[in-house]
Amino acid sequence: MLPDTNPIYGESPRCDLHADLHEIVAKYSGEKTNLLQMLIEINACAGYIPKDAAIYIAATLDIPLARIESVASFYSLLHLQPVGEYRVLFSDNITDRMLGNLDLMEQMCRQLWLQPGKVSEDGLLSINTTSCTGMCDQGPALLVNGYAITKLSSQRVQEIGQLIRNRTPVAEWPADYFNVEDNIRRGGLILDNTLAYGEVLQAAKAITPETIISTIKDSNLRGRGGAGFPTGIKWEACRNAEGDAHYVVCNADEGEPGTFKDRVLLTTQADLVFEGMTLCARAVGAKKGFLYLRGEYRYLLGHLQGVLQRRRNSELLGESIMGEQGFDFDIEIHLGAGAYICGEESALIESLEGKRGVPRNRPPFPVTHGYLQQPTALDNVETFCQAVMALHMGAEAYRAIGTEKSSGSKLISVSGDCAYPGIYEYPFGVTVRQVLEDCGAVNIQAVQISGPSGICIGEHEFNRKLGFEDLPTAGAFMVFDDSRDLFEVARNFVHFFAHESCGFCTPCRVGTSMLKQTMDKIAAGHGTKHDLAEIENLDHVLQTTSHCGLGRTACNPVLHTLKHFRPAYESRLKSLDFEPAFDLDGALARARQMTGRDDAGAHLKESE
């Protein structure tokens, strides 16, 4: 989808920041809780957050200047220094790698005479990598000035290079670049629903909030965002919690590499999502809701705002919904700006409040102390959709779908080595083998279930079933055939976690980057048995002492591949038991680069 022409979100012609700053602050009523949203708009307008803009915002909002840097530097899509008129970010999930993203990036760098991570001297552009952008079924993908381009080929990259060189505004680039396919391969309960918008809400008018909650409880609906918490119990606890106001939050941060089902739901089922949020609001007594949309999906903003407006016009949102006095609820969309940790519920709430997305100490939990310390029901995009279906069908009919412990359907995001990557909806209980068959995958070595924080399973486990009782999943399903090197898969995931660690707690902040260094050392052929032992030690500390799920699961990819595919590691080890961590030859790399030398004389001889 092409960048929309909203004057603030528009990409080109570059807006006049000084004229717009005032407008940006006014649009967000000068509220501190909207600081992140203002910074995102400034960044979109100027390509970065200029110092004078930061000073203006700090003065207007009456906050310390350092807070602007503190917040902005937490989010990888925000910049405090100019990073070029064109900011190109290649998605760097393992699935992008398997489709050759690094070669394409190198090609673009060569074409435009630039090194990754650097800004060109004329300030025209910068090229870098970024965490998975959720286009795994149509990669390799990149973001240009925040907008997704899919299905990169050598030719497309060449064309993009030309457009940049000619300084063609992004809004004038060929529209098909920005095409994002839904790739729905198998529908079901959610994707094939034939509900008219507002239908379930109308029907719910006749029932009490308590009945909504008891129906959701009886339906056995569990959260689809990963943790699988029973949704009805969450809503009930939120309703019963005392507070000045109650809130509903939809988690559309979808940052887990390999997951893109929420993108498709927001594209094709936005009404269902908003209807679910509105039903939840009725159940818990909320007047305000938020949808927290990951920055990488910013292209969906115009579409989502349109759906919200239509629902307002149809009295399905706003004051006196469906004419019912006192049923007031509206939804605001907040953008993220490149931080996987903001998918964690308490970090998301911090981010919604305009702060750094650092997970809170829990207890207390969001249901009692969420947004602005008020009771908050926070659920995944898909969970809200499932809730609408459960209310529509009734608890018993809903429970009849899936398995005894896992009611309803699940959307699976399939990517990697298969003929038909895309979205598959199944009743819970489907086997891994069935999914592999349906997506046309052959000679499969392993499947990464639920993304890097999930688990990697091998062939002998393909009869396992997707569901809370066996293989719980947030939806990612990345397929690796027998030509793939699972050590490299794990290494890519380890880099991801190190990049995304929020840095709050010692084990994760230091441990993920040490894990990364050790994996890189092994990849470079300098690994020893000692390093495998160190990995196991790091894994233990991360798992037992980290503050949140990110740190606790950051070692999963390595643990699982070490367990099932140990030869992939051992074949890389030197026979030595110990290898100094300080690589003398590596230390000369910078000197070699500066002198343009790479001959044998510029290397230290390795002592074997």
Partner: protein, 243 residues
């Protein structure tokens, strides 16, 4: 059993609202800690205070005390975790203790001794963290920062000045100073600020008093950190002397 829990076999009473750490320290029971400070709301970031509660590992400084908990702290398994965490902190920054003027008064160093951490054990990260010597009376040596946020909290909550903040994320997280120039001399920090007193390591230093107290006579030279627990029991903030 009402309002008591077990800590390594001792019975610890608590008041509702206290965390395991607060109750333990008030009862003269030591649990290692770094980012916890008796005058501030528990932070929960360093994880040195990790304990085992009913079989699960938890940060004791943030975990609410509950009747009947079985807390294990001084056991091999947990001390091994703590040793790794201390090593991580040493490796993450640049800690050349022999030339550090906080040596002997440094909580990180004292914890290292107490936990018998003798070698760094990890490859050092050698981050590039330039000093800020701009202020006439105060030196900031960021090399030793362990990102506990105590100075941030003290300056914001007690001094009402917000001189410090944290920026970046992951392993590029770092301390910054609230001034357009980014330099301490352009802030309104004062020697009497609470923020001057809370740094557990050797980042925020008063100039020219350096080694006035000889190494050997310093806080943790006299008795190990674990023996000084009582002083760490919760108390109201003792800031604002300069007001």
């Amino acid at each position: 059993m009402t309002n008591t829990f077990q800590l390594d076999g001792a019975t610890v009473p608590f008041e509702p609202g206290q965390t395991v750490m607060q109750a333990a320290l008030a009862a003269d029971q030591y649990i290692p800690h770094l980012c916890y400070h008796p005058e501030f709301k528990p932070h929960g970031s360093c994880k040195l205070c990790t304990v085992k509660v009913n079989g699960r590992t938890m940060a004791s400084c943030t975990m609410p005390a509950e009747a009947g908990l079985e807390v294990e702290s001084d056991i091999d398994e947990i001390n091994a975790l703590r040793r790794t965490l201390v090593k991580m902190l040493f490796a993450e920054g640049n800690h050349f203790c022999p030339s550090c003027e906080k040596s002997g008064n440094c909580m990180l160093q004292a914890l290292g001794y107490d936990l018998e951490v003798h070698a760094a054990g990890f490859r050092h990260q050698y981050p590039d963290r330039p000093l800020d010597a701009s202020h006439p009376d105060i030196l900031l040596d960021f090399n030793r920062c362990i990102l506990c946020e105590l100075c941030v909290r003290a300056s914001g909550e007690v001094d009402g000045k917000n001189v410090f903040a944290l920026a970046g994320r992951g392993n590029s997280k770092h301390l910054i100073v609230n001034a357009e120039s980014g330099q301490l001399k352009d802030t309104n920090i004062a020697l009497t600020d609470k923020a001057m007193q809370v740094c557990p390591v050797g980042v925020i230093l008063k100039k020219r008093v350096g080694f006035s107290q000889p190494i050997g006579d310093r806080r943790y030279d006299e008795s190990p950190i674990s023996a000084q627990a009582l002083q760490d029991a919760p108390r109201p903030p003792s800031g604002a002397e300069h007001d």
